[in-house]
């Protein structure tokens, strides 16, 4: 059994002129990004703007029509790249294996790659579950967990890999505001524990500004902005401002407060 090779705790990511179409629809129109090692890089954008497709290219689940993704200078398409760099992804749906228990889900990377004996795997799994506040939940099935707990199990599964690169796809979607804060804290905790490079795709503004070192805005398959969170907040582009500051009209909310609709039985 081989323990994971000791390597740099994080990697750089570069996206060069990435194009992708599904049938006749062009989803990514020449994306260029550079993400420094150890950063939490947040990609924001409206639904259907191509964020998740970009993320799936970065982890190598989709192949681009043209352009390339470089992990620490090496193409994601090159053979053996996954043996060389430890990468993990936390899916929007958590993507836990529903036929396995929480412990088996969290330890699957270690057991399938035969990195440690079962007792050691059980110890590591218990430690990682404790990090995400799920100690004692080892024997439960994913279907018995709430959405927030499933996301935290998925984060624990990513932690076990001791990743150099972690990708989060809409980590707070379908979660209540309190649980969204917990997941945001887990992302920050994961960075402080592993120093991994993190890429977070979200349209949750609170999460984005709470965790980002740098941010990008993607709209209709194109990057509109890349920079620091403060620059992002103060950007003049109306598409960015609309996205960041979109709220219900005050008159609508005040009308609701002053003129409640009478309850008719």
């Amino acid at each position: 059994m081989n323990a994971p090779a000791q390597a740099a705790p994080n990697v750089s990511v570069e996206v060069r002129d990435l194009h992708k179409s599904f049938q006749s629809e062009e989803v990514l129109k020449g994306i260029n990004l550079q993400i420094a090692p150890g950063q939490i890089f947040v990609i924001m954008g409206p639904s259907g703007s191509g964020k998740s497709v970009l993320l799936k290219h970065i982890i190598g689940l989709l192949r681009p029509d043209s352009g390339e993704i470089l992990i620490q200078g090496e193409s994601i398409a090159s053979p053996g790249i996954r043996d060389k760099f430890r990468m993990a992804m936390v899916f929007q749906s958590a993507a836990l294996l529903t036929s396995l228990t929480v412990a088996e889900n969290v330890g699957i990377y270690l057991s399938e790659h035969r990195l440690y004996p079962p007792e050691e795997i059980a110890r590591i799994v218990a430690a990682k579950l404790e990090v995400v506040g799920l100690q004692g939940e080892e024997d439960r099935m994913p279907s018995e967990l709430s959405g927030g707990m499933q996301k935290r199990v998925a984060i624990a599964r990513a932690l076990v890999i001791d990743p150099q690169l972690v990708l989060f796809d809409e980590p707070t979607s379908e979660l209540d505001p309190l649980m969204a804060v917990v997941v945001g804290q887990e992302i920050l905790k994961l960075k402080s524990l592993t120093q991994a490079t993190s890429i977070v795709v979200t349209h949750d503004r609170n999460l984005a500004f709470g965790v980002a070192d740098r941010m990008a805005m993607i709209s209709e398959g194109e990057i509109l902005f890349v920079g620091a969170p403060e620059e992002f907040k103060n950007h003049a582009d109306p598409r960015i401002r609309n996205f960041i500051y979109a709220e219900l009209p005050p008159s609508h909310s005040s009308a609701k407060r002053t003129d409640p609709i009478p309850l008719k039985l």
Binding site: L61, D83, L96, L97, T98
Partner: protein, 248 residues
Amino acid sequence: MFQNIGEIMILFWRTLRAVPLAWHQRRKVFDQLFEIGNGSLMMVCILSLFIGGVLALQTGPELVKRGLSFVLGGMVGESICKELAPVLLAILIAGRSGSAMSAEIGSMRVYEEIDALRTMNIDPVAYLVLPRMLAIALALPTLVLFAIPVGWLGAAFISAINNQIAVGFNVFFQDLRDVVDAGDVANGVFKSFVFALAIGIISCHQGLITRGGPRGIGRSVTKAVVNSIVCILILDYFLTRVLIYVQK
């Protein structure tokens, strides 16, 4: 269709290449074996009992009319072990286990579980397809080995109790012993092994290419079962031709 056949061939090749990892996947193989083998055993026994019975009922009276009742055991016995047991059990297992395989893998595909495996550098072929292929390739021939004697018993029982046939157990099994040998049983077991590989690979492939939500999963299950049955019947003809030639 040709694209699907090509993909199935590639998946089969990748599964063969993953065979050295079989020992590591032994727990999943045992789980699947239990599901396919033990879970189907009772149904298989009932099915073969009645297949044997109905075969005796259809052929027995005609043979008796022609004064050929002494050949009933051999004829029915050979039909069961060379043809009916492997083909009908394969169809049963395609409906029962092939559908379960495609539904389970299809659901994992739709709900991104297979993508999650890939991101962890876990090969879905070794993790999902290999254990199912090994289990069905072991379970179906074993079930056929069970089904053959049960089918014989069913046929012998009906032959004995039916007034129009009235062939006793001794006569039935004496002829069966004279006609059927180990090669005939091996013939049926070999056929079922090939059918098992076909059901396994078609069902797993259909699961892996599932798209969409629950409707996509349902469509995959239907395709897996229908394609498996069509493949079993086509393969049966060619295998029979080859085995007749080999056994000469």
